[in-house]
Amino acid sequence: MIKKTIGIKVLIFPLSVGFLIVFAILFIRPAFSDMMAARKSAKDGSQQLADLESRNAKLVAFKAKWESMEEKKIIEGALPGDQGVDDYMSELYSRVSRSGMLLNNFATQDSSYNSPYVCSVGVGTAAGGAAQSASGISPAVASPPSAVLSGTAPSAPALCANALDVTMSLNGTWEQLLSFLKYLGDTNRIANVKSVVVASGVGGQQGESNPDLLKVDLLVQVFYKPKSEASNLGTISSLTSGEGFDESVLEKIKGIVFTAYEEPSVSETGERNIFK
């Protein structure tokens, strides 16, 4: 009887070892792997936080740099926040006047030209989308609709701009045309020529045919992008992962906007009026 009692006591040890194994499998192992997973995710989180903190520090520096940048106005002029064409028309009209051409017609409408950087049709067709035209143009005559002036431009997805087609009809000589086209390439608001039609033998103001007078129909595409109210994380991420604002783009835009005007030198090196 005494031996049996001792045997049961001794049996407790293998039983407890068995319990330990079961306990380890059922509780300790999952708890350990959960702990390791939590440790890894905490470590990853810390790394992500450190990365974000460094990006935020970069952003603070970029913001300070941006605030002192003079190029802000150039960029806003080249790609304004709304489609309002009054400023562009004023600039264009002064260039038409300087070149000596006569602007007969000016109209805008939503762009029909698709480019990868132009928002899909429908996004930019809200306010002021209807074509507007004016004859004997002056900035006051062809003022855009009130919706445009109030700046109620439609919102656009990131990294695409809304586009407007600006059509104009002009009369002038060959030299005046070259002069105007030179000005057109350097406007503050970036305008891309989409179609050009030049024809000779146009009737003058009194109806007589003037062999020197050319009729020019131009279609240019101008762009606008509504101002973002909140940061785009993708843009911020690409900005902070690089060295900041792309100076080469700024230089290119300044190259267009600030090109010194040179009087076209017709016929000095073989060029000539091809319509004469």
Binding site: S16, F23, I28, L52, Y113, I190, K227, A230, S231, D246
Partner: protein, 187 residues
């Protein structure tokens, strides 16, 4: 009365390796150890999870700083630059192109119209040449123009001279425009 009937003397009997008490103590120790390991693992897990939650809150805070209106102007500026970078890739300089093109038009040839559309990227040139010989020389000359990808003859018809109009060969040519030449400010 002798109760012990074993032949082996009690002194010489082998003592068991694990006595009842020792076995109990060892078992209890093992269970305490197991519970301890489990407790430590659970505590560390809780601590890491709480650390993770804390870090996640900070991450959200940093993200909200980045995505809010704080840097909206900077982000907007960068977006404008990215778009403009693509837009100016299509910027063209027609004054330089036409000036260069005019060098490849013979003095005897007079153009009556010139039209270009980006979608077709071909310039349709209509003009009058005094005769077919000049017209053929004109086509050959245009083929040497670096801004022309190709020159295609469309049609030609003889036109009699009128009172005010010049007679000759009315022709239509299609000139494929080289986009690289068009995008250069000065040729």
């Amino acid at each position: 009365m002798v109760s012990n009937i074993n032949l082996v003397a009690p002194e010489s009997e082998k003592k068991p390796l694990l006595t009842g008490k020792a076995s109990l103590a060892l078992s209890v120790s093992l269970i305490i150890l197991a519970l301890g390991v489990y407790g430590v693992a659970s505590y560390l897990k809780w601590r890491y999870l709480s650390e993770k939650q804390n870090v996640e809150a900070q991450i959200q805070d940093e993200k909200s700083k980045m995505s809010g209106s704080n840097y909206a102007a900077v982000s907007d500026f960068q977006e404008r630059m990215d778009i403009l970078d693509k837009v100016i890739g299509d910027h063209t300089y027609w004054d330089a192109f036409l000036k260069d093109f005019s060098k490849y038009v013979l003095p005897e040839v007079r153009l009556t119209s010139l039209s270009w559309n980006e979608n077709k990227n071909a310039m349709e040139v209509k003009g009058i040449a005094p005769n077919f010989d000049v017209l053929s020389r004109e086509i050959i000359l245009l083929q040497k123009f670096s801004g022309a990808g190709s020159v295609e003859f469309k049609s030609a018809s003889e036109k009699a001279a009128g009172e005010d109009t010049q007679g000759g060969i009315n022709f239509i040519l299609s000139v494929k425009v080289d986009e690289n030449t068009l995008s250069k400010g000065s040729l």
